[in-house]
């Protein structure tokens, strides 16, 4: 895992370098909005299954043991004609409002990104731009906070009774089991908390230092050095696995490194640098929380 973490550190530092650099603020902010939009969309897509309606539905956390098995409560119940049945019911819990927050966040950031092509974000931000960015930041913070609020993994008899009450009449249940062992709630798809936190940090850095203090040549040199670290981590992992099979984590590291390299060699385009250098950490952050 060391090469993976090496790549993560390199990509994370690259994002911070870009945020504090003297690249035009318009390009940095536009890139950030674009990345937030992509992160929101892929998170929603991977967690969408069985999340219900647009306005009333919610993303669900699933209970799982550390080895990936779902946590079940085993029900013993009797049918209409009195026959005994034993059923396992996987524990899930809704994460209220996260779905709606991510939807609004994706929409706002997309609008902001589109507006950036017509905007003049070269100097101080106008009132309208401040409002748009403020709304994106607020929703990013809300989304990030909601993503951290996964349900508690110590169900009482009462909470299990309440959970199974949503599926069947508790009158017919003879008994149910309370799960034991080391388990916790987790996202069924990608966990957005790390990426939203990272985007929020970069956005705050960009807003705090609009002009930046890292000169362009320093940024180029720094990014080259970090790109060398990322390529080294790709080669290190390849030597560990004896080649380049499309192992999940190898793919994350090598594709992130490829995108990062494009940002380094095309450094004459500020928006390419800011989008790809800040974005290369995103798959790695998703991966860390999926391990």
């Amino acid at each position: 895992m060391i090469p993976f973490y090496l790549a993560l550190v390199a990509a994370g530092l690259a994002g911070i370098l870009v945020a504090l650099s003297q690249l035009p603020q318009r390009d940095k902010l536009a890139s950030m909005l674009c990345l937030i939009c992509v992160a929101s969309c892929v998170t929603l897509n991977s967690n969408w299954a069985a999340s219900g309606g647009l306005a009333t539905g919610s993303l669900n956390a699933i209970a799982a043991y550390s080895d990936g098995r779902p946590v079940e409560t085993v029900l013993e119940l009797y049918g209409i004609s009195g026959e005994r049945r034993v059923r396992g019911l996987a524990l899930t819990a809704p994460i209220p409002w996260l779905k709606q927050s991510l939807l609004v966040l994706g929409l706002l950031s997309l609008l902001g990104f589109i507006a950036s092509f017509r905007s003049r974000w070269t100097g101080p931000l106008s009132k309208r731009e401040n409002l748009d960015l403020g709304a994106v930041l607020v929703f990013t913070a809300i989304g990030g906070l909601l993503a951290f609020q996964l349900p508690d993994s110590s169900p009482s008899q009462e909470s299990i009774r309440q959970f199974i009450g949503g599926f069947t009449s508790t009158q017919t249940i003879e008994s149910f089991s309370i799960p034991t062992g080391d388990w916790s709630y987790r996202f069924s798809g990608l966990n957005p908390s790390g990426v939203l936190g990272y985007c929020l940090l970069l956005a705050i850095l960009i807003m705090l230092k609009p002009a930046g203090f890292i000169s362009v040549w320093q940024l180029k040199a720094g990014l080259s050095l970090l790109a060398m670290m990322m390529v080294a981590s790709v080669l290190w992992r390849a030597s560990l696995v004896g080649g380049f099979p499309w192992h999940t984590l190898d793919a994350v590291v090598s594709l992130s490194a490829s995108a990062f390299i494009f940002s380094v060699v095309l450094s004459q385009h500020p928006r390419v640098v800011s989008t790809l250098a800040m974005g290369s950490a995103i798959p790695l952050l998703f991966a860390v929380l999926s391990l």
């Binding site: 550390s66 320093q218 560990l240 004896g242 380049f244 099979p245 499309w246 999940t248 060699v265 385009h269």
Partner: protein
Amino acid sequence: MNKRSNLPYLSGVWAWVESLIHSSGLMILIGLALLVSAINGLVYPLGQHPAEGLMVRLPLAIAPFTLLAATYWATGFARLTLGLTAVGIWAILLGSWSTESTGLLRVGGQVAESYGRFVSDRDIQVHLGAQVAADINDERVSLTFGMPNAQQKKLTFQRRMPQAKAHDGRIYALDRVVFDDDAHVAVLSIRSRANPGQEVIKRVAVDRPILVTNSTSAVDDTAGNSSDVKGDLRLKVSQMRNDFLKRLGAAVQLDLQWNGGSENAWYFADAPDLDKRHGTSPWQIQLLRIEGAQMAEFSVRRPSRDMVAWFGWSLIFLAMALHLFGSIREGRA
């Protein structure tokens, strides 16, 4: 359209293509496609996704053209960096090219004999030429190749360490261990009728026989060695139903063999005392429940020209070093 072209002798569609290749937007799109593919690989291992050609290989094939187009304005180290990176990307693409696409081997509770591979966007099952069984625990996953009673090959993978291993002309890399909705194991309570006070609880998958010794301890017998120890039981689940005939609940068909007899019968979770009352074997078996099983997912591929990919990444490393050198020189100037 002619006005958008940097090369005055181009016109029409060619001028448009030229301006597209020079645009920064195309490179952002290529980079985002790679990043989304990297994220997607976490929920669906890369190499097995039908859109991989469109999302990874096509952008990687186009990217060098954009890099080479950028050399039009670049000079010195910047031009060399762009050129080396473009050649490096093509080398990586060529190095990762294989006559076969990467396949997905899923093996868990049941023995597998083939892995899935996408050919022209269709999932094709490719036979491995042998049976493969997986043994999954918290630390490692073991793959055992070979027919029962024949010479076997065992590959062991650490779950926390990335590692690829080769066997019989194919490379296997453990992607992840998942819970499988389609595969299940039966949880059985096994007692000797002679000694009903001692109970063994075993999780048994379909077609994975186990051996229950007379001392009421159980050992795995995946090799299929039949037991000739007096009083031992060889137990195999031949079929499993979540809800037998949609009415009778969870049920398993068990094949029991002991020294002196055999029995093949259905056992029902909703009728736990059926075997106690009517069973003829010296063993009393009760189906407690059916549980989901874990399944290991492996990327499988034929060895490719890895040396070319190594060369490509090394070229890119060199390009980055040159870019660093050029940036420092630029800063001093």
